[in-house]
Symmetry: C2
Subunit: 411 residues, 2 copies
């Protein structure tokens, strides 16, 4: 117990070192302090049903049995402590409980609850299960849980709210037009619960809003990220399953942004073992420009099921930025695009070393075609890896590829 409290202090100081020191006299920005109570549930066959009933949200961490290795043991206990911290401090008053399910000891319960991926966190809300497969940091997890607490469908009432809806180009969004809450809206709402909070559902009961979106009564539009025009779901009215099937089929976007809340899920959804990865800081003029080119390419190729580009904004992942720079041998102060082999993190990157000359959409499309056809791949340069570690090496038999936009004069 003594040991635990010490670790606690340590952990919390990582969250909020400022508390240590007498700063100004101002109040209003206090980060949480641990109160010492142990609130994490040890879930078993005996208590899981009761726990499910008792809380609005029950978050279960499905974990490996306690490891024999001492270092891992400590880490393991920390997992519990982090969850505890979240539970007791930040989400106090929200009727959220946390529990641990041991994949060996509690195998039966896990099976009954449908827990599959060891290392994941499962959130139970009413009769649904939501898997969290994002960064297990306090920030990300709390934000995720607060999102889950919100209504799964957001109602758009007026022109200003419509503008807010139209600005969310990074998200997969659906919007439906219904008579009112007591209508085919119910099926839409049921469907929304299956995807909350990863896919955003909106509805309107307002004729003017519907007209602006060219929505017919009981119609539903699906917006792929970064696309200008929505897809209209076939058929009206739609059943819950119609909607669920359509979303499931279309959820891998041509251009998708990596987000902390589901970063591992996205990364695991690779295309034949590779990802086309684009790094671009949206806040940076260069990055913004490159991103606009990328969006053009995605719009031109939205019907190609072979293509899905993962866009990473380095600003969203400060702790990974230098790791990526080292692993991929890149300068991430500038935009980059390349192919990453997810089994060994081997990669090749498009040479964009001339600052003034980003590739055009056409050049980028040619390069992507070379990637999809296998002409550009992560293996060809491997035998030279030792000698040319920092070279952007182009094998001789691929000189016709557009790997180097600097050689072209397109102005």
């Amino acid at each position: 117990e003594q040991w635990r409290s010490q670790i606690w202090l340590s952990l919390l100081s990582a969250l909020s070192l400022r508390l240590v020191l007498p700063g100004g006299a101002e109040e209003g920005l206090e980060f949480p302090n641990f109160d010492g109570k142990d609130r994490v549930l040890d879930i078993s066959e005996r208590n899981y049903k009761k726990a499910l009933k008792r809380y609005d949200l029950l978050c279960l961490f499905y974990h490996e049995p306690m490891p024999a290795n001492k270092g891992l043991q400590k880490r393991f206990q920390m997992t519990e402590l982090v969850l505890e911290s979240l539970c007791s401090q930040v989400l106090e008053n929200k009727d959220i409980a946390f529990g641990m399910v041991d994949s060996q000891k509690d195998a039966k319960v896990a099976k009954k609850l449908g827990l599959e991926e060891v290392g994941s966190l499962y959130v139970f809300k009413d009769d649904r299960v939501i898997e969290f497969d994002g960064e297990l940091s306090a920030d990300t997890l709390v934000e995720f849980l607060l999102d889950v607490l919100e209504d799964p469908v957001e109602i758009i009432n007026n022109a200003m709210e419509l503008r807010a809806f139209e600005r969310m180009e990074e998200d997969i969004r659906l919007i439906g037009y219904f008579k009112g809450e007591d209508s085919y809206y119910k099926a839409f709402q049921e469907a929304s619960e299956r995807f909350q909070p990863y896919i955003k559902f909106f509805a309107t009961f307002d004729k003017t809003v519907a007209k602006h979106l060219s929505l017919k009564m009981n119609g539903v539009n699906f917006y792929e990220p970064f696309m200008e025009e929505p897809a209209v779901l076939p058929g009206r009215p739609l059943s819950e399953m119609d909607i669920v099937e359509f979303v499931t089929q279309h959820r891998r976007a041509t251009l998708r942004k990596l987000r902390a809340e589901n970063m591992f899920e996205t990364w695991e959804d690779d295309m034949d073992g590779i990802h086309i990865v684009a790094f671009a800081e949206e806040e940076d003029p260069d990055g913004y420009e490159f991103l606009e080119i990328l969006k053009d390419v995605a719009r031109d190729n939205t019907n190609n099921p072979e293509l899905s580009i993962v866009w990473i904004d380095p600003d969203d992942f400060p702790l990974l930025t230098t790791y990526w720079e080292k692993t991929f041998k890149l300068d991430l102060f500038r935009p980059q695009i390349g192919v990453v082999n997810v089994t060994d993190a081997d990669s090749v990157w498009l040479d964009m070393s001339d600052d003034e000359d980003l590739p055009t959409a056409e050049e980028l499309e040619d390069w992507i075609e070379d990637v999809l056809s296998g002409r550009v791949n992560t293996e060809d340069d491997d035998e030279f890896a030792d000698d040319h570690e920092n070279d952007h090496f182009v094998p001789e038999d691929e000189e016709e590829g557009d790997q180097d936009p600097d050689e072209e004069d397109d102005e």
Copy 2:
């Protein structure tokens, strides 16, 4: 040493619990692992000059003497460890060093280096000092340091980059038009270094870009956050001091967004002990609508030096959201505006309980007027606090105030 390693493991598992468990076979998203080397410098009169010369960035944590209290001691050591982690792991290869300066033991060095606020982190770059007064979390600090490493002036070369510039409405920005790098641009650049990375400086050498911004040769525009028109700095050409003085005088915006990177600095810059605080989630339709109303109010009142509204997007501070809800007795799933007394966190909030009816810009302005005149304040309701903790109490002598927009029919 043994104890330290344990804490380390703990700390790092907070950063990345996922490492504990055998996830998929995918690579490419590994969070850093501690290598055990002690890299934090113990700064003294003997070594500070050498350290300043040796590194591109030297980050000094100016701290109280080691406390007698054991719990605080541990926290204190954690501070060092967090910095160490940053230093050794994430910012490896970036030529950044971290050091500790004891406010008692190293008082002389602190004076020579100009360190003033105990508990702050000071970053030395070339011959400049930059104070970090934000959230001391790994994410925020690393992002801050990476920003400091970038060039303080960003060059805008074309129409697309100009669009990126124009989108940054949340930031204080300056942009100047110059002949080239060897011109009055030099003075502009020198000035930019004084404000990096808090205030963004841009320049263009391109006639078309300058024309679009109505910039004359050697002219500089200043953009207050959320304002549509820039202020033109008086005089051309401008010296470094002209620019520094103008920025210093105008940097407290009428509407300013709270950011993790300088949240404590912003909070300490109160107006006579109070802040007008608005909570609004930009990603939420309601929040977006309220924010647009708020921007209108700010634009109408941009010349009132008495008015500065702090906008907090709860999405940016998940760990503080429930603390604020509890302290201020608010529901932060919805937009809110109120007055907070920074000495005791006492507050009053505008009643906006009718979901469909956000206040109009006029109603909001009336309420703000009541705040500035003292008619709405945090003290009047205090004697009733025990009986009416959750009431939005309006004292009798203030019934003419527009505290309750629900009573009005403005449609």
